[in-house]
Symmetry: C2
Subunit: 339 residues, 2 copies
DNA sequence: CTGTTAGCGCGTTCAC
DNA sequence: GTGAACGCGCTAACAG
């Protein structure tokens, strides 16, 4: 491996001079600078970030930890984070926790060991608390995305989940639906809780009764086993005429299950959900959804993270900031008038 | 920051003993091992991967470089690579080149500087040659995914692009289509070339003439400007009754353009493409496509990469391997009988 | 303008 | 069983 010492020897200078050329620090004569540059080219020198980070005590490495890399909401968010990181001269690494608190813990340990300068996290849920405290204790700045964690102080970018639920329910009632069910993520996830609350409040405002049997909470994540949804559907009598899904994955699973029973959407049951199904949903717009500004989640979150890193060691720490992005209803074909 | 020296001092042993406990090497008495372990917990010690890698001359870090993180084909591939990497005890970092050779070059430089032990790369195209040679020169093993690069020797995982094109064209002719157009990625990308060849051969086998005006080559990437497609469509007289798209992004763009002109798919024009539109396409299956086994691309590629890394320094190097994954036609609703 | 010294956190080698 | 010395590649601090 070529090191600055190899360059130094070949160029007839000291390693320090080479280092200065690389980093554009100090004053170097044009002659020696040119010579060093030439030798670096000849020897195909590549700087060693690890050695550099070791002495500088900063890696210029940021980490984005999301819960589902196959979910278009998170990949679009990732693009936003990537662009913002690049703009500020940071490299960005991605991790995928799969909605698993355990996998997330492993990633946090890896992040700590990698000495990343900061982390952008979409936490798996309230049980992420210990990992986040771990980051805090080790003085690694982080920003939460899409989900809050009770007991954790930090900057955060959220969607307006409660308002989103209200809009979905209102849309359904405006089409005459009165038996509206909710299939949602685990209540250990803040956004799921808010969506549940918004649903409940919207029912009340529309003079509809809240019935526990019409609400089901399960993992926000894709499974091949649809039996859980099956038995929930069986338990609702009379069956709902419309279903609200807490995210895009659940929307897909519900629709698959309905199809499996020979029920058509929206002819037999209407379905709406949170988050779009990807950039490709435009060609055959089907699912009526609350679309969130995924790119902005990543871009703005990264912006706040970088500011926190730069502020570190500065004077008075700023208070935590919370950005709430709007929830826009996009009406498509998955809702029909109630019969 | 807590180091092994802090642990050592607190536990009344030498740093070396702590290191041995961490790595389970050498012989340590149970008593000291327990004591060291306890102190590590108390002080919340986290090992420093960078320092470790510096001395060991290996990072246990692998890199996956894809061209579009918002494309479901690549995210599914990424999941495969992630699972395989984890299985072998490697951490995996992701990079996103955006189909840009320049951005790709930046990433390769970063990878080199990071001292990753190996790279999985879906190259931006034939012009990726210099970067790949750079990796080779620095002795960083890599495996190519989805695309070959002339002049580069390496392991590679490909889809059966030629056969895929044939199946698409045959499907269209079986429905009576005779004016079949092709919109494809740049011919500097091997998979685009093969898809073009397959298209051409299939036309011939079906006794259809090849007409240059019915073929358009452009970037495989998403743009907001549809005018390029517009003018291509204008240039085809008589207009095609069916269009083959070289990947999922182009399929979406073509359909959007057609919709913009008030043309319906498949009623007015049939459209087929390569690669699925994500896990969500199942709920409202629209586009007829050649589906590739995206997860396997990543999983098998990673497997080969790890083997190469482990073989390094070994005896006789194995010959390069090429895995060709099958191309399966999935018939959905975007094709109608020709009038 | 340029070089010397020291140390970032850790593991290998060799001694005890 | 355990420890001391050294070096991985690099840069900050200080000399000159």
């Amino acid at each position: 491996m070529v090191t600055i010492y190899d360059i130094a020897a070949q160029a007839g200078v000291s390693a320090m001079t080479v280092s200065r050329v690389i980093n554009n620090t100090g004053k170097i004569s044009d002659k020696t600078r040119a010579k060093v540059r030439r030798v670096m080219e000849e020897l195909n020198y590549v700087p060693n970030h690890m050695a550099r980070s070791l002495v500088l005590q900063q890696s210029k490495l940021l980490f984005l930890l999301i819960t589902d890399i196959t979910n278009p909401f998170y990949t679009t968010l990732a693009r936003g984070a990537e662009d913002a990181a690049k703009k500020h001269g940071y490299r960005l690494l991605f991790g995928n926790s799969d909605e698993s608190v355990d996998k997330e813990k492993d990633y946090v340990d890896a992040i700590l060991a990698t000495r990343a300068d900061g982390v952008l996290v979409a936490p798996a849920g309230d049980l992420s608390l210990p990992h986040l405290e771990s980051l805090r204790m080790h003085n690694v700045p982080f920003v939460l995305l899409d989900r809050e964690v009770p007991g954790v102080g930090s900057d955060v970018v959220l969607g307006d989940s409660k308002e989103g639920s209200r809009k979905l329910v209102d849309h359904l009632t405006s089409r005459g639906h009165r038996r509206i069910a909710l299939i949602n993520g685990s209540p250990t996830i803040s956004s799921a809780r808010l969506r549940h609350e918004g649903y409940r409040e919207a029912l009340k405002l529309n003079d509809l009764a809240y019935d526990e049997r019409y609400v089901h909470e399960m993992a926000f994540q894709l499974r091949n086993d649809l039996s859980e949804i099956e038995s929930w559907l069986d338990g609702m009598t009379p069956p709902p005429t419309a279903i609200v899904a807490g995210n895009n994955v659940l929307a897909v699973e519900v629709i698959r299950t309905l199809h499996g029973r020979g029920l058509r959407v929206p002819d037999d049951v209407s379905v709406v959900g949170f988050d779009d199904l990807g950039p490709y949903s435009e060609i055959d717009p089907f699912l009526t959804v609350i679309a969130q500004q995924a790119y902005q989640f990543g871009y703005l979150g990264m912006q706040m993270l970088v500011e926190r890193i730069q502020e570190r060691g500065g004077e008075s720490p700023q208070p935590w900031r919370k950005i709430v992005l709007p929830a826009d209803l996009i009406v498509r074909r998955s809702v029909a008038d109630a019969k």
